[in-house]
């Protein structure tokens, strides 16, 4: 019915062109499946829940011009002003802006005076308003109290008595039991920091960091040379509030440089590399698939032109139109399946090298099969138009002398 054996022997006699297309399909599958793996991994990374109200958050950074500056007083006054603005849900002081790519990390130990074996986490110096400001969810324990806030200088020992951590950090620090009520130490020190609360999730300052999600919040204000605030607005009010912020803060105290940015923009910039990678690889995938489709159209058309007489003979001998188009589609499938088998093997080898050397995710068998099926459909679709054209070749061609 499908003439596989005679088809194979005919292909064997035209093996160079068939092999070239098979190799092209193989390379396309190897590159496309690995590219799609990377695209998927990057997209999953971008789509991860941040745990915060990204769309309605605004970050403010200011640096006072005078060298002698009452930073603690300014923060209290600024936060009062910010929280009183129409459209603002809450505001909080912070040492870093979420998803901004700029922040601080520290090692945390589970025993006093420990020197090795720390757990690294991104940390915030903030205040009791931070959960509401960021829009996070407290899943265990309690929030900070105002009396737990510490106001420290830049050179003081910046250790707090209490901390709130993310669920991810709590699970990695205390995998067997609840982290609530447990203590953290800053290393070579015996001052305990008690975990009083756990929030469900927050990626911290660096979403691309391999430990993103390990975050510790401390109730602390460091009176350094600059300070940051986070402002959460009501839905739909962010841009209106954004426009007023710089003027309002400058109006209250003009002796400082103020910079305002949205968390949404910070998130976009943090993932710009990933987005660029996704776009570039998508173009590569699209182009390669298009080129392989063109190659198949070209080869099938060439073979049909070369075999016009043969098609006429087959028609004269009783082949129906569908027999002829099926012949070319099956022939194309044989080449495609050969290429896809080679390409599947190549894809796994390439992925092994990429995964080992560039920390890329492993290629799943289901994705490889999915890509192979898509390429098979593309190759069959590409062969379909010339194959249908071949079916229209007249059986009378068999009796023509040229």
């Amino acid at each position: 019915m499908f003439e596989i054996k005679p088809m194979l022997s005919a292909l064997w006699r035209n093996k160079i062109s068939a092999l070239l297309i098979a190799v092209q399909i193989a390379l396309t599958l190897a590159i496309v499946s690995n590219s799609v793996t990377i695209i998927q991994e990057r997209q999953q990374k971008i789509d991860r829940p941040t745990g915060i109200d990204v769309e309605n958050l605004i970050g403010i950074t200011f640096m006072p011009v005078p060298t002698e500056y009452d930073m603690a007083g300014a923060v209290v006054a600024d936060l009062d002003l910010l929280r009183s603005m129409p459209g603002v849900i809450d505001a909080s002081v912070t040492n870093q802006l979420p998803l901004s790519g700029s922040g601080s990390a520290s090692g945390y130990f589970l025993e006093p005076n420990q020197e090795i074996g720390d757990l690294t986490a991104n940390y915030y110096h903030t205040d009791p308003h931070f959960i509401n400001t960021l829009g996070m969810k407290l899943v265990a324990g309690r929030n900070f109290r105002e009396d737990e806030m510490k106001i420290l200088g830049a050179h003081d020992n910046q250790i707090s008595d209490v901390a709130i951590v993310t669920q991810q950090f709590a699970d990695s620090a205390f995998p067997e039991e609840s982290a609530l009520g447990k203590y953290l130490y800053s290393g070579r020190d015996d001052h305990p920091t008690k975990i009083i609360g756990i929030v469900d999730r927050h990626l911290g300052a660096w979403p691309s960091w391999n430990l993103a999600g390990n975050v510790v919040f401390n109730p602390m204000l460091i009176t350094g040379n600059h300070k940051r605030y986070l402002v959460r607005t009501e839905p739909g009010q962010r841009d209106a509030v954004f426009k007023q912020l710089e003027d309002k803060l400058a109006e209250r105290d003009p002796q400082r440089v103020i910079h305002v940015e949205t968390t949404e923009e910070n998130k976009r910039q943090s993932y710009s590399g990933d987005n660029l990678m996704i776009k570039m690889l998508s173009v590569v995938v699209g182009l390669l698939t298009f080129i392989v489709a063109l190659g198949i159209v070209g080869l099938t058309t060439f073979w049909i032109n070369q075999r016009t007489k043969q098609i006429g003979i087959r028609r004269a001998l009783g082949a129906s139109r569908s027999n002829i188009s099926r012949y070319f589609l099956v022939e194309n499938s044989i080449i495609a399946v050969t290429g896809l088998t080679l390409g599947g093997t190549a894809a796994l080898i390439i992925n092994e090298a990429i995964a080992n050397n560039f920390s890329q995710p492993p290629l799943s068998l289901s994705l490889l099969i999915g890509c192979a099926i898509v390429l098979l459909v593309v190759s069959l679709t590409a062969a379909l138009v010339p194959a249908l054209r071949a079916a229209n070749i007249s059986p009378a061609t068999a009796t023509r002398s040229v």
């Binding site: 003979i313 004269a316 009783g318 068999a398």
Partner: protein, 233 residues
């Protein structure tokens, strides 16, 4: 077996209409061996194409084995070609990429025979043309006469009731032409109806009946078997 009445076939371009067959009427009986002659461009190949269901006539009536075939669909025509008609072409028309076995197998696959039946028919037909030992050879490895015998074997394997031969000896030397002709006569003796288009008057005379086509019409019907050779020459 074959009955054509007032068959017309014209080919039309933007500016010209060419009449290849005009009011062409012919009847070929079951078991007859008919030769068709005529000058180049007279319409012999068009007649052969229509008789073999390779082309459809522009007008007229064509009955094959009592069945009106003028209005059949393409797939029905393909099935009839495959089941009832065997073709022998001037240029042999073997598929160069396939060995002899696979070449003969082509129409049998379209017929839907199982592998065992196909093998039986292929081996039998190769034996009939004396090429059993060459089954795995490619056409290019054979002489012209052998290739034409393979083409005949391919036509015979389907056990057609009607064999159409288009200049079957046109590309062969006289010895091989004679061998092929003898083979066709032998096939006709089994009861297969044969219509052979040829330029060769000697071959035409060996048929039971000769038809001459001139300007797309049958110009002369002669019972060659009943007439002396001199009258035809």
């Amino acid at each position: 077996m074959l009955k054509m009445q007032n068959i017309r076939k014209s080919y039309r371009t933007d500016t010209i209409e060419t009449h290849a067959l005009r009011d062409f009427s012919l009847e070929v009986n079951e078991g007859e061996f008919v030769s068709v002659t005529g000058p180049s461009g007279s319409g012999k190949t068009t007649f052969l194409n229509i008789a073999g269901l390779l082309e459809t006539p522009t007008g007229g009536q064509y009955l094959l084995d009592g069945q009106e075939v003028g209005n059949l669909s393409d797939s029905e025509r393909s099935r009839l070609r495959n089941e009832k008609i065997g073709f022998i072409f001037q240029g042999f028309n073997l598929i160069p990429d396939l060995n002899l076995f696979d070449n003969i197998d082509v129409p049998l696959r379209y017929r839907g025979f199982n592998a065992k039946e196909r093998r039986r028919r292929i081996e039998k037909s190769l034996e009939q043309v004396g090429l059993s030992a060459r089954a795995k050879h490619l056409p290019a490895q054979l002489s012209g006469g052998q290739q034409q015998r393979v083409a005949i074997a391919r036509a015979l394997a389907g056990e057609p009731r009607f064999l159409l031969a288009d200049e079957p000896t046109g590309n062969l030397d006289s010895l091989m032409a004679r061998q092929v002709m003898e083979l066709l006569e032998f096939i006709n003796e089994w009861g297969t109806t044969i219509v052979m288009v040829t330029h060769d008057p000697d071959l035409a005379r060996r048929a039971q009946r000769n038809i001459q086509i001139v300007d797309g019409q049958v110009s002369d019907l002669r019972q060659t078997i009943a007439q002396p050779e001199a009258a035809i020459a």
